[in-house]
């Protein structure tokens, strides 16, 4: 019964997102593993204007608005990509202009009740570390957002060509070179 409900919710959310209704804050498909009366963190998440940068290989990034519709703080611990064979890290950009450097976000990404975190080029974003398959423009990348209460949400990131978001990375020069490619 529960399984059925979740599947239906997932299907509805997918259609909504795929048909280009990115205009409306999009519903996400919570995949709760706990059966509490209170909503899970995943259920309290709303996303809007989500997109990922097209890339053939190496690194790329995903952006968008993550809003907390619930009463307690959302603690986003990790992000998983099941289709492109890469680790996803949550990154912050420190400094500005030529001095800008990216670094992994420390601890969980917190979203306070009735607030939102906007993932932007030049700001906090999700980083695809080493793509095994291409992020093709016009297609959609599905990422799983994992919260501290064990709940997770699948969020669709339509893939778009974007020449910006090339901030140099704190890491090795090779990774930097990969990052520039598209």
């Amino acid at each position: 019964m529960k399984y059925f409900k979740l599947t239906a919710a997932l299907a509805a959310a997918t259609t909504l997102l795929l048909t280009g209704c990115a205009q409306e804050p999009s519903a996400v498909a919570p995949q709760s593993s706990t059966d509490q009366m209170q909503g899970t963190q995943a259920e309290d998440l709303r996303t809007n204007e989500t997109w990922a940068k097209a890339a053939e290989h190496g690194m790329s990034a995903a952006f968008g608005e993550l809003r907390n519709e619930g009463a307690s703080t959302l603690e986003l611990e990790s992000v998983t990509d099941k289709t492109h064979g890469t680790v996803i890290e949550i990154h912050d950009t420190q400094g500005q202009g030529a001095e800008a450097r990216m670094a992994q976000h420390e601890g969980a990404l917190l979203i306070k009740p009735a607030e939102e975190v906007v993932l932007t080029p030049g700001g906090t974003h999700f980083m695809y570390m080493d793509l095994k398959t291409e992020l093709v423009a016009s297609q959609t990348s599905t990422l799983q957002l994992n919260f501290s209460d064990g709940s997770s949400a699948e969020v669709q990131f339509p893939i778009r060509n974007f020449s910006g978001a090339n901030e140099s990375y704190h890491g090795s020069p090779e990774e930097h070179a990969d990052h520039e490619g598209h």
């Binding site: 795929l18 048909t19 280009g20 205009q23 204007e49 097209a54 093709v136 016009s138």
Partner: protein, 407 residues
């Protein structure tokens, strides 16, 4: 004028007698124009679309940009998809994701928002009657296994000198707006989003008066100085000519076809022709667009009318005499634009019609054979597109093409 009462409701009725049918087709036209003509002496109305641009709706039975009153600026974008590099199933998925993306893009741009990941969304904020209209070529339909007798390729016509650069593409996007800057942003955003997954084939831009300088309705002065778009169907007759009806739709219900012909006009040679010669070649006067068989722009093109010497008022080989539809099925909706580039000027002839085989093709065959204007014009580009049906909320452009039961 008994024929004027024939209502153009059913194509099947119209097809019956050509004479009655033509009367019917233009009944609405005549009536609509009479009001405009009465306005003739008065100061131009200030309330044309150009002066009150708004956001055009994206969702609807038909795509916007077809029956929409022609905006002042247009750009026709052609793209090809490298299907040969993709497995068949990948090709189908590529088409699907492109059409989904274009649906989102069109909807966002037309409502004044930038596209997703837009670097200059501010440029789309002003209301400008922007429309984004999407069609596909037979090559793309082949990948989907979609066959329709209405489509395929246009036949060759006598005298044309086609340049492959302006030929058939897999995808066409017609963008129109009152404001060229808003238009440019939309074009740029669409092209950027299609980069890497398509190959740009052409970008042809055009312009015209947003309102007819004499009739204040749709229409414009072309680069020969002629008033174009006078005898263009209106209202119900136009809708029927473009989309057919439930019994006899176009290639798909809610869809239509677009013929895009790039026609070069030799303005330097046209300069050598005097006023009488120009009017004679067209069959209408350059001054006010009135037919040589009448005195007002709204007067009918009467091929039986004679002048004082008993000679035909409109020469048999004049453009309007040759182009005039002989049956209701031949009626097409011309929605073209002037173009001007460093090396070439002319008309981006764009016509929408239910079935090009019974409308554009016979009319263009006649014109190619004999048309006084041929001395100054050369057809240099040619393409035929299946224009996708309008989109209901929650759907995407061309979704019908992916269903199991194909025609």
């Amino acid at each position: 004028m008994a024929a004027a009462n024939v209502q153009p409701t059913r194509r099947v009725v119209l097809g019956g007698s050509a004479a009655a049918a033509i009367g019917g087709v233009f009944a609405g036209f005549g009536a609509g124009r009479a009001t405009a003509a009465e306005n003739g002496g008065a100061a131009p109305k200030a309330t044309t679309a150009a002066h009150n641009p708004r956001f055009q709706p994206f969702h609807g039975k038909y795509q916007a940009g077809i029956l929409t009153e022609p905006q002042a600026h247009a750009e026709f974008l052609g793209f090809n998809v490298h299907f040969e590099e993709l497995a068949r199933s990948e090709g189908i998925e590529r088409i699907r994701s492109i059409l989904k993306m274009l649906s989102t893009d069109a909807q966002r741009l037309m409502s004044g928002r930038g596209v997703l990941a837009d670097t200059e969304p501010e440029m789309s904020h002003a209301a400008s009657d922007l429309t984004v209209t999407v069609g596909v070529g037979q090559g793309l339909l082949d990948v989907l296994g979609y066959k329709s007798a209405f489509l395929g390729k246009l036949p060759a016509f006598a005298g044309e000198k086609l340049d492959a650069r302006y030929g058939q593409s897999d995808l066409i996007i017609q963008c129109c707006a009152q404001d060229p800057t808003v238009l440019h942003h939309a074009v740029r955003a669409l092209r950027k989003n299609l980069r890497g997954i398509t190959e740009p084939a052409f970008a042809q831009s055009g312009f015209l008066h947003a309102a007819h300088p004499v009739l204040q309705g749709p229409g414009f002065r072309n680069l020969f100085g002629q008033l174009d778009g006078i005898n263009n169907p209106t209202g119900e007759a136009r809708e029927l000519a473009v989309f057919g009806d439930a019994q006899e739709p176009s290639w798909i219900a809610g869809g239509t076809t677009l013929v895009l012909r790039r026609i070069e006009m030799n303005l330097d040679k046209w300069d050598e022709v005097d006023r009488a010669g120009r009017d004679f070649a067209l069959g209408r006067r350059q001054s006010d667009g009135s037919p040589l068989s009448g005195t007002k722009p709204t007067d009918p093109v009467d091929l039986q009318a004679v002048d004082g010497l008993g000679l035909p008022a409109i020469a048999a080989h004049a453009h309007v005499a040759r182009a005039k539809p002989e049956t209701a099925d031949e009626v097409l909706w011309r929605r073209g634009y002037n173009y001007h580039e460093t090396q070439s000027s002319g008309l981006l002839f764009a016509s929408y019609q239910r079935d090009p085989r019974s409308s554009f093709v016979p009319v263009q065959r006649r014109l190619a054979q004999v048309d006084a204007l041929n001395e100054w014009i050369t057809h240099a580009g040619s393409a035929l597109y299946a224009i996708l049906p309008g989109v209901a909320e929650g759907k995407y452009l061309g979704e019908e093409l992916f269903s199991q039961n194909k025609q």
